[in-house]
Subunit: 248 residues, 2 copies
Amino acid sequence: MSGWVTIAGLGPGAEAMVTPEVQTALADATDIVGYIPYVRRVQPRRGLTLHESDNRVELDRARHALQMAAEGKRVAVVSSGDPGVFAMASAVFEAVEEDAAWRNLDIRVLPGITAMLAAAAAAGAPLGHDFCAINLSDNLKPWDLIEKRLRLAAEADFAMAFYNPRSKARPEGFGRALDVLRSCCEAERLMIFARAVSTPDQALRVVHLADAAPDMADMRTLVLVGSSQTRLIPRDGTPFVYTPRSAP
Amino acid sequence: MSGWVTIAGLGPGAEAMVTPEVQTALADATDIVGYIPYVRRVQPRRGLTLHESDNRVELDRARHALQMAAEGKRVAVVSSGDPGVFAMASAVFEAVEEDAAWRNLDIRVLPGITAMLAAAAAAGAPLGHDFCAINLSDNLKPWDLIEKRLRLAAEADFAMAFYNPRSKARPEGFGRALDVLRSCCEAERLMIFARAVSTPDQALRVVHLADAAPDMADMRTLVLVGSSQTRLIPRDGTPFVYTPRSAP
């Protein structure tokens, strides 16, 4: 009976961005739990059981992982990116609170390369000064709170990273977020639409806020918004975008 | 003449958190450039020149790297954590802007595990909802801007990560930051002091804002502040701290 749960970050997509620590945990696990496309990134092998589940069942998935660990299994809950950033780690701890017997299980979170850092690296260094990360999905919080955070982030002159900007079930929110930004940022504010970063489908698009359109984002897109200080360096191909270290 | 510059993130300290992509870049480089303790994390080998430099000469170091790449060398600029988060990537792009000849060099940024994500993982999932990252050093920005951002971040109810909270040259700032937080957050607000995360010296301390003291932080400490929703799960040893996915 030496079960454990490890919530492991697989990074944004490229195998070369998966840390050795995470690879070791996957190799030691008896069970892999996660959303279907993430579980499919794990190589099947004898003695390893793969438990795929659909989106939006995070809490059930977390309970299942904890239950198996309590029975002595070595369970890796896999997330894309970093498990602590809009991913499975919080869901596991929400489940831990439900049952006192789960508190003293061996539970570890293994960080991964989260999408905003991979997207920023692909573009240059747009998050090189103070910044914030906002999940634009209003599935688990009121839209008014998202708008409030956008306004305050703009007032603080943070660069911003938007996770889950737009989905088929939420086609309107991102356009509203752009309207909020246009009401409080200059038209030339730099934005980066980074789709499927680090995968063969990677596509980067750098635009001014005035030219940003809702259909530039989908569920595979990470959106970055520069601060007022963010700069563009034209060059052959996609320009570099970076935020200087200093601010006036 | 196929020189390049790669700005590579070494992660917070543990070798098991260095991505294979970064390991490959270090293995292919002819020259390593960086702050002394980071360069010392790279294994010396025949054909590899190590260029150590002191803190606070980031722009000189960046120019040196670009100049060597222009001469055909394969240069890895090493940063701890992620190079795009309060590290060397922005300094390199600041230098790139100085000389048009440098714009079309092969320059890539390779992301790494940044300190706040390693610290969050060690504590649980305190950054599991919207959050911001603020560099508390006023070397390159006015202190008033830091205070403004702290107030707005608290109003937005972001969780917060503080980089460079305190140094021998800046002993006062962090105490002032705590005063700002106390003026706008409840006394029970959860804070995590994460020192030397992922190294043998790792030490985690979870306190309420009311009990936080300036000397709990030094230059090796990453400070996390929960949002109003952040929760503590008591258990044997260090408690878990996490922020739920949903917000009211």
